[in-house]
């Protein structure tokens, strides 16, 4: 194999991302570093599980024609994934610069399509969607994802999405949530049930003053 040139482009709490060219394709290497604060056995379990689930779900969603980058290589023992590189900016940054609500609706459509496969994302913040140069929208980062036929996990996704939208320093947050939900509803027939459960989760949160109110997510 030709020698790879690595450029570290992101160092998060979960992994380090390097940009590279893999088999002639612009790619990122996602490496999950050992976490020294945990029992090594537990740490290895978690990193292997997250690497594998991410690989499995990327492959499955790609086959279903859902907007995820292509999986190119996986090494669960070394906790490494190689994934197609998507040149763009996060949906969060895109929203701050463009205020293009249609893109938010498309994000809702993507999440709905994923839920229709009985897959949940686990961390669907606006930072985990990428708008590329051609204004196509992609979703990434499936390390906390999983399979579930239950409403519960999907509702947590919706709850986390709304929380993420709420951190945008923009006006009309309720309207933005509504737009996202409009997209979600389009592709996921059980959206209404998920929304109801998301509301309950919201009310379960510690010390939520809205607990007494009815329908915190009623738009």
């Amino acid at each position: 194999m030709e020698k790879m040139i690595l450029e570290e482009i992101y160092r998060g709490a979960e992994s380090i991302i390097y940009k590279t060219v893999f088999l002639g394709i612009d790619a990122v290497i996602k490496y999950r570093e050992p976490k020294t604060y945990m029992d090594p056995r537990l740490d290895k379990n978690i990193r292997t599980r997250r690497t594998l689930i991410e690989a499995r779900i990327l492959k499955e969603l790609r086959e279903k024609n859902i907007e995820v980058p292509a999986l190119l290589y996986v090494d669960p023992e070394e906790h490494i994934l190689v994934i197609e590189y998507i040149d763009g900016i996060s949906l969060r940054d895109y929203m701050l610069n463009n205020r293009d609500v249609n893109m938010l609706e498309r994000a809702g459509e993507i999440l709905g399509k994923i839920h229709l496969e009985n897959i949940y994302h686990g961390d669907p913040t606006l930072g985990n969607y990428i708008v590329d140069k051609d204004r196509r929208l992609w979703i990434i980062d499936f390390g906390l994802a999983g399979y579930s036929e239950e409403i519960e996990e999907k509702a947590v996704d919706l709850h986390l999405t709304f929380r993420s939208i709420e951190t945008l320093p923009l006006e009309n947050i309720d309207y933005l949530k509504k737009i996202f939900y409009k997209g979600y509803e389009k592709t996921y027939p059980q959206a209404e049930k998920v929304l109801e459960r998301a509301e309950e989760i919201r009310k379960m949160g510690r010390y939520v003053s809205e607990r007494k109110l009815k329908g915190v997510y009623r738009f």
């Binding site: 709490a13 976490k35 020294t36 978690i46 906390l144 947590v156 986390l160 951190t167 003053s209």
Partner: protein
């Protein structure tokens, strides 16, 4: 300036008297603590016990401080969050003193007070805050005028998980012996990781109820208790630390501080030190005496709030059992 602070949210009735004189900061720190003989805290029982102790604690505090009510500039009280009946004990006393002595009344959010006394006692300036009390678990950071919730538990609190598990398997009460939680103590004898206890981080949020259920199930199946405690502790603490690290990565803050009753755990501290090293941030741990509920933290936060003009009319001083930390404008940090 001298401020009287009244803490009364769960199991502690605390009176703190503080001054803005750096050399004589804490004038008095008196407390009465309700300890149930079995089970958890029953709000009514706790409120009755604390009400019966209140006047004695107040009297002792004034004796210790060598000041009188005349010297006090304002009265601060924990208006929430907490257990309703217990909150009302502190609030009633605060209102009575306010009206009788004609002093301003200052509402204090209990969680904000934990953070402020942490900053005051550790010298941290702008940390990511790991807030672990009996009733709540959250990762917070000061952003745009408020302590924002970066991640939090979506079901039970970490302290709640430890206490409930201890109770279910007969390790407690008491839950904390010589500054160490009984689950922590038992875990030190554990060796094996039990695979069926789940590690669940949801985005930046945490969930502990699944761990509790799985740990109790493992106990009933006959797994050695020390191994269960070890696994439970490793998983629960690591989840909190993982979210703390994500918050550091996200906010780029240079400090991390642990506050609240569970802050005393040496195991947790060790884990925090490791991410601090990796992320190149400094660790701050609130001294145990001020990490638990106390009146000084209410008085000190009351002093900060009162200095920036925060007071409340007695008629409007209704307790707020579910008052969120991110609802409070931190007007003294503008």
């Amino acid at each position: 300036m001298i401020i009287l602070g009244i803490e009364s949210t769960a199991h502690t009735f605390g009176i703190g008297i503080v001054s803005d004189d750096e050399k004589r900061f804490i004038l008095a720190d008196k407390r009465a603590v309700y300890t149930p003989t079995s089970g958890g805290i029953h709000p009514r029982e706790s409120s009755r016990y604390l009400a019966s102790k209140a006047s004695e604690v107040i009297k002792e505090a004034f004796e210790e401080a060598s000041v009188t009510m005349r010297d006090v500039d304002a009265i601060a009280f924990s208006m929430g969050p907490g257990l309703g009946p217990v909150l009302r004990v502190g609030a009633s006393i605060a209102r009575a003193l306010t009206v009788y002595y004609d002093k301003p009344l200052v509402p204090v959010n209990h969680a904000v007070a934990h953070i402020e006394i942490g900053l005051k006692t550790t010298g941290a300036k702008d940390p990511v805050v790991i807030y672990l009390s009996g009733g709540n678990s959250a990762v917070l950071a000061f952003v745009e005028g408020r302590y924002r919730v970066f991640g939090e538990t979506i079901d039970i609190a970490l302290g709640n998980l430890l206490d409930t598990f201890a109770r279910e398997v007969g390790l407690g009460p008491p839950y904390v012996v010589e500054g160490l939680h009984v689950v922590d103590r038992c875990a030190s004898q554990g060796r094996e990781i039990i695979d069926e206890i789940p590690y669940v981080v949801k985005g930046q949020d945490l969930t502990f109820s699944g761990i509790l259920t799985a740990a109790i199930r493992a106990f009933k199946k006959g797994y050695p208790l020390p191994d269960i405690c070890y696994t439970l502790r490793e998983i629960a603490y690591s989840m909190v630390v993982e979210v703390g690290e994500r918050c550091i990565a996200h906010t780029r803050k240079k400090e991390i501080m642990i506050v609240g009753g569970v802050a005393a755990s040496p195991v947790l501290r060790e884990k925090i030190d490791k991410i601090a090293e990796r992320q190149n941030v400094k660790t701050f741990i609130v001294p145990p005496k001020y990490a638990v509920d106390n009146g000084v933290m209410i008085a000190w936060t009351g002093l900060l709030a009162y200095s920036s003009g925060v007071t409340i009319d007695v008629e409007k001083s209704i307790v707020r059992p579910r008052w969120r930390v991110d609802e409070v404008d931190i007007s003294w940090r503008r």
